[in-house]
Symmetry: C2
Subunit: 204 residues, 2 copies
DNA sequence: GCCTATATCAACATCGATGTAAATTAGGCG
DNA sequence: CGCCTAATTTACATCGATGTTGATATAGGC
């Protein structure tokens, strides 16, 4: 009944030997799932190990320590977040950069894989250094919008304002959007619609 | 050198006997400080006890358990948040409900005493029931805005949209506003200015 | 001034998370 | 096929957080 047990077949080897990359990858996927489902405190060596059918000592072997696992998890999720923001940049550099499409792209970036929740955890924990890769992604976003706008039409200051605005809303929506929309009787898509509508007012 | 030791005067009683309310109050103040300064994981019985010069067993006596202390802390901070939102309602019912004043009021509500960070912690932990008192405060806010607007000028749907918008931004700013503004080179007041400027567009 | 209720403490017990050391085995390579 | 590296496990050690118990002292009431 426990997670690692898939049955009583005797033919399977008792131990499965993974490459270090496989082992780390599986562990991080499991840890991410635990973070999203049960919160930061659920990310324990034994819990992660149980999810992928290894022992907690094995995780220490691959990550050095529990802090090493947490750090790797943060790095992985921050990488996903910056990748997703990179897709927004690509969108803006193509022709399809309509307000609603850009909004969806940024909101998805914070929602996918629990990136917004992770960022909240990082800030609450005080490990701000893990957010450093996001800085470049955010600045790329500013640059992409700048390129797209006609000369002088939108100053850099207006653009950073727009990015601050959309990022705050996307982050907030990813973390407390659910409960808040419920309190207000608003549907799932409300925040995105509002942001998409307001976005053009920054660039006029 | 330990925290409780202020010197070698002999006249002071070795034990200070507090009323239960005093003891609980001091503990919650200390716990809140620990949450803001060092994150949720820093709120341990020993740490809180050390801050106020008692033993951890004493905290268990007053709160029943560690979970009881956490729950009391959440209740206290949620009460402060709802009180602060109540002040926004009062502001709206007076004559001074200018967009900037309302914006400041809501942003302060999420920033004061770490209310925004606490809300993030509650959501990440999954203890959504602790947020229940906020529901009424948020709905009061909707009602207050509704009263203030001329008949039919702003539908209830537009108002809930405005509240969702301002709450998301205020929450986001309270949690990741600092790092994000730093990445963008924006000053402390940026988000509030933006929100105050956009707020009227909801009600026209 | 004494008595009582209880706030407080010291010492102990427990439990889970983390970490360590040594044995075991999977799987590649000669 | 047999060997060797290292991924994996088992067993043990540690540490901190939580909880329990019985003793102690303090403040208010008589």
């Amino acid at each position: 009944m426990s997670i690692g047990e898939t049955g009583a077949e005797a033919g399977r080897p008792k131990r499965r030997r993974r490459t270090p990359d496989e082992a780390r990858g599986e562990a991080i996927v499991a840890a991410r799932r635990l973070l999203i489902d049960s919160g930061p405190t659920a990310i324990t060596l034994k819990a992660v190990a149980g999810q992928i059918g290894v022992t907690h000592a094995n995780l220490i072997h691959h990550f050095g320590s529990a802090a090493g696992l947490q750090s790797a998890l943060m790095g992985s999720m921050v990488r996903d977040l910056t990748d997703a923001l990179g897709e927004t940049v690509a969108l803006l550099r193509s022709e399809a950069g309509a307000p609603r499409a850009v909004t969806d792209s940024v909101f998805d970036a914070f929602e996918k894989g629990g990136a917004g929740r992770l960022a909240a955890w990082i800030v609450l924990s005080g490990d701000l250094k893990h957010l450093e890769p996001v800085r470049a992604a955010v600045q790329d976003l500013v640059n992409a919008i700048h390129e797209r706008m006609a000369e002088g039409e939108a100053t850099r200051h207006r653009i950073t304002g727009a990015v601050l605005f959309i990022a705050l809303c996307a982050f907030g929506d990813a973390v407390i959007g659910g409960p808040l929309r419920d309190m207000l009787g608003r549907d799932e898509d409300s925040a995105r619609r509002i942001v998409a509508r307001l976005l053009p007012t920054f660039l006029l």
